[in-house]
């Protein structure tokens, strides 16, 4: 019996690798093709180094798109859904952001699963404040 797979977009911010659900991503573009005001960076994931790629996310409530600046998009990975885990209560209490939805084991290493829309909203809220 085949276990259902979860499709994840794996990207890198600074030296850390993160994962996000492909359904949250509209497309992947180049940072230099996007107007600066539409770029989102300096999020709780950390600071970027190369600023090569931008992950375009659609906010259906606002009807806008935002581009999250990352250093590198490593690719699309299909992992068994059993490898995807919710965030433990202790970790959820410690983390200051709500954008981390859980973690997934990639190459036997736990990788944070990021809710891109929540991440962008938190950053915009922080910027507005």
């Amino acid at each position: 019996m085949t276990q259902p797979l979860a499709e994840l977009l794996v990207f890198q911010v600074g030296a850390r690798v993160f994962a996000a659900a492909v359904q949250d991503v509209v497309r992947i573009g180049s940072v230099r093709d996007v107007p600066p005001e539409e770029l989102v960076e300096g999020t709780s994931l950390g600071s970027t180094l190369g600023r090569e790629r931008g992950i375009v996310v659609s906010d259906h409530q606002l009807g806008t798109e935002a581009t999250l600046v990352v250093d590198q998009v490593l690719g699309v990975r299909s992992v068994p859904e059993g490898e995807v885990h919710p965030l433990p209560a202790f970790a959820a209490a410690v983390l200051r952001t709500a954008a981390v939805a859980g973690f997934v084991m990639l190459d036997e290493a736990p990788t944070l699963l990021v809710d891109l829309l929540t991440l962008i909203r938190e950053r915009r809220a922080a910027a507005a404040a």
Partner: protein, 436 residues
Amino acid sequence: MADSFDLDDSPRRPRAKGGKAGKAAPPARPARPASRAPRARRPARGAGAAEITDALLQIADGHHGIRLDLASFADPALREVAAAVNASDERVQRDLTEFQVRVKAVSDGVDEAVEAMIRLVVQGDLSSELRLGVTDAALTPLIAGIGQVMETLKRFTTEIREAALQLSTSAAEVLAAATQNESSTAAQASSIHETTATMEELKGASHQIAENAQMVAVIAEQTLTGARQGEGSIKLFAESMQKVRTNAVEVDDAISKLSRRVERIGTVVEVIDEIADRSDLLALNAALEGAKAGEAGRGFSIVAAEMRRLAENVMESTKEIKNLITEIRESTHAAKEASDGNKRMAGEGEKLAGTAMQSVTGILTGIQETSDAARVIHLATQQQRTATEQVVQSMSEIEEVTRQAQSGSRQATGAASELTKLAERLAELVKRFKVD
């Protein structure tokens, strides 16, 4: 001179003190032979001319007091002659007695005058006047002559005293001069000896200098040859530097061309890299869409992944090319700098070669002059050595002459010293004569 004034010797006296006039000079007439001794008076019988003749001969022989017995002469004429003989003899005897008295008086006066003069001379008292009791007019010339003699002697003594004083002074000066001359001669002899020794050393030094000058001339000649070789080498070096500079310019042009080519390659690589990046982006989005499509998009995702892998390979290759281009740029830049350095160094080398050539030319001139000067020095030092040897010879002769002069000076000093003593002795002797 001293012999003339030997006052210890008494003057000769013409006669002994108290001498009698009767014992005076022999008679002018030669003495009769011994056979003609006074004849005995004949007896009174028959006296004649023979007795008269005999009496006259005795009178002629200086025998007086003869008396002919007139009565014995029978002949009146002979008796008168005999009487005349007796009268004549009496008269002669009387005159003789008077003459003898007169002679004795004169002789005593002469003796007195001479003794007085001798006494004054012996006593050295020339200042006193000659006082005589003699009044005989016949002695007046003698007394006047003695007075003149005394005056002359007094004048001589005065002059001798002055001369002795001057002689003493002059002798002292001569002694001082001789002593000074002796010390000067000794110092001169010492100086000449030192000078001779110095000239000997100078002769050795001249010999050494001549040898060194010869050596310098040889070395200068060798240096001249070496400098000429160096001049040729510098010319070759200058030509090499010129070639190096020409080659450096050509290398510089080649590097510039290479640099432009590399820049062009970089531009192309940038385009390729951009295309690869776009391809990677497209592959990512394709994979993303494939993943969104689920199982239906699985094959699409695989193709997208393969495309992405190719794009990444391209980007990896372009990255390597960029690194290579960067290395080429750095190498080209280094080569350009090296080429510029070569050109600069070649230019400086040419300048240095020119400067070195000028220096070598100057050195050649200097060495030539040095060589000429060394030869001249060698010749001059040879002449100097010859002259020095002559000087040494002359100095040796001078030293010998000076040694003789020193000996003579020493003798002169001794003589002057002796002369001084004699002058003092003379002054002392002259002082014994009182003239004032």
